[in-house]
């Protein structure tokens, strides 16, 4: 069985995904997979919160953190459309992690990432030094990676993870351009389109310190992206930074 040589810190996970053919997706069952692959911890957002009901989704995260706090980290997912709700949720769940971990899903919420509706959330992230994981997609009207340099420059204390790094070849190029423009933008690697040589290009252009491993489990199989990192033509030190140490530093746990 393939297994990581070092314990992995996974920056992108979900709780439950009741679409398509869900299979053994409960947190206890995800731990089986994490143990087999040597994933030490997984930072999760509730899928319910991303697509439909942020407050009740965040309750699911709270329950998992209470049960498995050493193996999971919790993103607070916020919906920009419900006035006042986002800040209430950020305050309510401020014990999840310090610095706060915040998840934004502009395409699921159908709200462009640069909409004024997010202003209070970005201000909060800037004030608290939060790590903000944002779903991104190639050229998408809601979450094009190129939207984020302006946001990052206006909120320099927030660290922004471009979830999926734009996914496609062109999306990755947009994500690299964004990260080049602002030092507090990072590429997060989960995604189903694992173009050959792309990881090497990102490391050569940005340096490994700007890239973090994410699986997107239980949407995607964590082994796919792991294997891409394992076998990329980059140094072992770079692989270890991507798989573990960069996210630990962002979490303030190194």
């Amino acid at each position: 069985m393939m297994r990581s040589p070092i314990p992995v810190m996974d920056a992108h996970g979900h709780l439950r995904l009741h679409v398509r053919f869900p299979y053994k997706t409960e947190p206890d069952q995800m731990l089986e997979v994490m143990d087999a692959l040597n994933i030490e911890a997984l930072a999760v957002t509730a899928s319910l919160a991303c697509w439909n009901d942020a407050p009740n989704g965040n309750i699911e995260v709270d329950e998992v953190l209470r049960k498995h706090g050493n193996r999971f980290r919790g993103y607070i997912t916020v919906n920009p459309h419900v006035q006042g709700e986002a800040l209430r949720e950020l305050e309510r769940w401020s014990h999840f992690h310090n610095p706060p971990l915040i998840k934004l899903h502009p395409s699921a919420h159908q709200c462009p990432a640069n909409s004024p509706k997010y202003d209070a959330i970005w201000d909060y992230a800037n004030q608290t030094g939060a790590v903000v994981l944002v779903h991104t997609w190639d050229s998408h009207a809601m979450c094009n990676p190129l939207m984020f340099p302006a946001i990052a420059k206006a909120h320099p204390q927030a660290n922004i993870l471009l979830g999926h790094s734009g996914v496609t070849w062109r999306g990755y190029e947009q994500a690299q351009e964004a990260a080049t423009a602002a030092p507090n933008i990072y590429l997060e690697l989960s995604g189903s389109q694992r173009n050959r040589t792309m990881l090497e290009r990102c490391v050569n252009r940005l340096g490994a310190e700007r890239i973090v491993y994410g699986s997107d489990m239980p949407a995607l199989d964590p082994a796919g992206t792991l294997a891409d990192v394992f076998t990329a033509k980059i140094s072992d030190d770079d692989k270890e930074e991507i798989l573990r140490y960069n996210f630990l530093r962002l979490l303030g746990e190194s």
Binding site: M1, M2, R3, P5, I6, L17, R20, F21, Y23, K24, T25, V33, A36, L37, S192, Q193, R194, N195, R196, T197, M217, P218, A219, L220, D221, P222, A223, G224, T225, L226, A227, D228, F230, T231, D236, K239
Partner: protein, 257 residues
């Protein structure tokens, strides 16, 4: 030895006799930054313990079927099994038959090919492929679901392999696989969480083939998912190469009847 070396990560695959059903070779217009000649493709296959691969030529995919087939013919590498690019007209079928094909890759919706798999258009071609059990590849984006069903219903002996299915289409795929035993699919993009394991648990491994999607995708992804799936060893070996060898072995290339 590096803890991240191929031997450490994937060494067990050396014993799997991996055969890859989903590769392409030659220059590419839109994917020029990733294209590979035969030598480079073989090198990348070796890196991931892939012994043999069915490969189509990008020139046939993107430009002209016959020019692509000519380029594929001169490669002549034992580890590469040509997937010829067929067209449905009588002359093209005769040219295809003269190559004694084991595999073809259909691209009917490609504007440079522009045909339909309906019997009134491609009946003779599909009949030839079915009669000779030619391994027939088609990517999901190259065929409509209803057209796929029409082919499976009209040519039940045709060993058809659906490529690049993605990870969101089990509700389409599974009923078809259960209804049509001649239908197979590849795992290059079948990458959802425990998806491969789930499929094997429920339906067995016989209709699932290893595919990498080289040179666009790294073979690491599909091999990593296969290597870490919690399935029986014999199921893993069947997916890694046994199922494709069975299909290739059953192909009986011959002249047009």
């Amino acid at each position: 030895m590096s803890p991240f070396s191929s031997e450490t990560i994937f060494g067990e695959a050396a014993d799997w006799n991996v055969w890859d059903v989903n590769t392409r070779v030659g220059p590419s217009g839109p994917n020029g930054q990733l294209s590979m000649d035969a030598s480079a493709l073989l090198g990348e296959m070796s890196r991931f313990y892939i012994q043999r691969a069915v490969t189509a030529h990008w020139t046939g995919v993107e430009y002209d079927a016959n020019v692509g087939n000519e380029k594929l013919a001169v490669i002549n590498e034992e580890r590469l099994i040509p997937a010829w690019t067929p067209l449905p007209d009588e002359e093209s079928i005769e040219q295809l038959a003269a190559r004694r094909p084991v595999a073809v890759r259909l691209m009917p919706r490609n504007l440079n090919h522009s045909w339909t798999v309906t019997p009134w258009c491609a009946g003779d071609l599909l009949d030839y492929l079915a009669q000779h059990r030619i391994v027939t590849l088609v990517a999901r984006e190259d065929i409509e679901w209803q057209s796929l069903i029409d082919v499976l219903e009209n040519f039940p002996q045709l060993p058809l392999v659906l490529l690049d299915i993605g990870y969101r289409f089990d509700h389409y795929l599974v009923p078809l696989l259960r209804r049509f035993p001649s239908l197979h699919f590849d795992c290059a993009t079948y990458l959802a969480y425990r998806q491969l394991e789930n499929f094997v648990d429920r339906y067995g491994p016989d209709q699932l083939l290893y595919g990498s999607r080289l040179p666009l995708f790294t073979a690491a992804t599909s091999l990593g998912v296969l290597a870490s799936a919690r399935i029986a060893d014999d199921a893993r070996l069947a997916i890694a190469g046994g199922n494709l060898r069975r299909l290739v072995g059953a192909a009986a290339p011959g002249a047009v009847a």
